[in-house]
Subunit: 367 residues, 2 copies
């Protein structure tokens, strides 16, 4: 969690705004809407910022506000009636002091700029569900939550976990992890999100939580490559294992105060597994490897994802640049190779050579 | 690794015997046969003890020795010609001083008794690929490797990893972990097993390696139950995560010298994932949950596995008894519930309640 003016959690009802309306944001709106309505610490109505688009000749916001269904990104699922789709970002966050960020990380800079001066900064808190890093000049990686805090002057927690949106929407039980340094603020977000089917664990180790959420998408791209060359379960397990080892090493390098137990939370090993078996990064990477070298990732992304964005290749690129800058690229052969395959500098088959040649991890994780 | 007379590794060629001939033993015989033939530290011929049975009116050993194919347990795959199927155990291990144990763990007691006095005890070493514990009276769990050492007076290492046999036989790359206290002995087994498609990492943390191999089958049964009630990827990830946490806790309880990094080896998280997605424990458990309460696990085992044995339910039972004896059952809700479902005391659906009610794992793994 990034630090800012983080005082006691106020007892007046909080106004909640969901910034984003994709597949995952829509699934989260089910829990948020339900809890906002039933729990006194939140105002009943929840605005959800929807990037306006036309679906079958109608505005998406109008469809959501009349049918209570996000027909484009979460079709077939009813959203609570107190979720109000708002096409204008400044209006959506007007007066809000609990802001839930849930959008592709490439949009965060402009989104924050637009919001300044429109939300209620008194006792305001933010929660980021964004997977990725904010890369800027300087020696360190900036977490998306830190970027939000820097620009909005609001403390920001993060939430990551094994949470495929479509399964959540079908009320299949799952867990998630909130990383938040301030326990009262963490409890408030837990109250906003937890339901019988969605268990929220809170940890103070915010950096590990957020980094895991970003890095696992790189590993999932690698797992998809293995699927695309018919590598099998054993080989895929090698990729996931080596990916986990590199995740741990990466987090420790950039966030030395990381707590090892956080990797055993939902945001760690559980999210990694789910993403490597069921997520869209894996799916598109598999198609890319099957078609290699005839299709580009960007084209497959638009062909296959119906407007959703891929995070893995972008994160792989950002991580690659960081590793070069810090002169530690050779310690992260999997991350590096995934990036090079994404940009067609290497072939999916080359990933197997990396698995064969990597040093034994034994001892690598010892401090 | 259990300790015994473990002196230097001799330079005269070692005679290798494979004790067992099931699906996994047959897959391993491909590597062992190849390396025995090409590397000077091993005798060329490798005996493989085959529990004799008739297949289409012919003896299985005759089929293997003429067609070089284990038509029952690894059909369609050629074994090296220097692998000789031997139906008599005492003859199979005659003069051997490298013994590879690869059979269901319920057979280990009688197998060891039969072998006494028949192998070459000079500079002899054993390697156990057996998944399970040997439970006897007393305060501690006995590893299968320790049982072998106690009865044969031979140091015994163990090997576990993300190694589905059919994929290995198709030469899909994978890794494994050998746990062995004596580095020279560990290197010798690495030389016997490692090929370009099968990477062997050696660690001295033998107890963690062997315990992981046994415990992961309990988790895989739980994962299969979730599949059987259509739980989805998120819920299955909860089971795997909680299973991993209980594996770590269990190993630390019974083997306090465990090294945490071993869980990041192939024998740890990689084997767990592979088994929970691709193994036979998962498969039969799924069928059990779908048919619940109309079929017993034993019946499904014989219907579905063509003579192979399930390890998960047996290990769950053994672990359950240990946890009761040590009065720590309440710290292992997943392991306990899996066992109770296996014996139909609870229903597969009850597993979801365990996931919902378990305490946050945060802090649980801190020492």
């Amino acid at each position: 969690m990034a630090t800012a003016n983080c005082s006691n959690v106020a007892s007046t009802p909080k106004r909640v705004a969901i910034i984003g309306s994709g597949n995952f944001a829509s699934a989260m709106s089910i829990f948020i809407g339900k809890n906002a309505q039933s729990r006194p610490e939140f105002e009943d109505q929840v605005n959800m910022w929807v990037f306006e688009e036309e679906v079958n000749g109608q505005k998406l916001t109008d469809i959501i506000n009349t049918t209570h269904e996000n027909v484009k990104y979460l079709p077939g699922i009813k959203l609570p009636e107190n979720i109000k789709a708002v096409p204008d970002l400044t209006e959506a966050c007007q007066g809000a002091n609990l802001m839930i960020f849930c959008l592709p990380h490439q949009f965060i800079v402009r989104t924050c700029q637009t919001m300044i001066g429109h939300f209620n900064s008194k006792d305001a808190y933010a929660l980021s569900m964004i997977k990725g890093f904010h890369i800027k000049e300087g020696p360190a990686i900036q977490l998306v939550s830190e970027h939000i805090t820097e620009h909005l002057h609001v403390p920001c927690a993060s939430m990551m976990g094994a949470n495929l949106a479509n399964e959540i929407a079908l009320q299949k039980f799952c867990e998630t992890t909130i990383g938040c340094e301030n326990p009262a603020m963490g409890s408030l977000f837990k109250r906003l999100l937890e339901t019988e089917d969605f268990r929220v664990n809170v940890t103070r180790d915010f950096g590990t939580v957020e980094m895991c959420g970003a890095l696992k998408n790189i590993v999932a791209v690698g797992a998809g490559f293995v699927d695309g060359i018919n590598g099998g379960n054993n080989t895929k397990a090698c990729v996931i294992r080596l990916g986990l080892v590199e995740m741990v090493k990466f987090v420790r390098h950039f966030f030395p105060q990381a707590n090892s137990t956080t990797f055993f939370e939902s945001c760690g090993v559980a999210d990694l597994i789910t993403t490597c078996y069921g997520g869209r990064n894996r799916q598109v990477a598999e198609a890319f490897a099957r078609a290699f070298p005839n299709k580009k990732l960007e084209n497959l992304e638009s062909e296959m994802l119906n407007g959703q964005k891929l995070q893995g290749p972008l994160t792989a690129h950002e991580v690659y640049d960081c590793l070069i800058r810090d002169q530690v690229l050779d310690q992260f052969p999997l991350f590096a190779t995934v990036h090079r395959i994404c940009i067609s500098e290497q072939s999916p088959q080359d990933l197997i050579d990396i698995l064969k040649s990597q040093p034994s991890s034994y001892g690598v994780l010892d401090d």
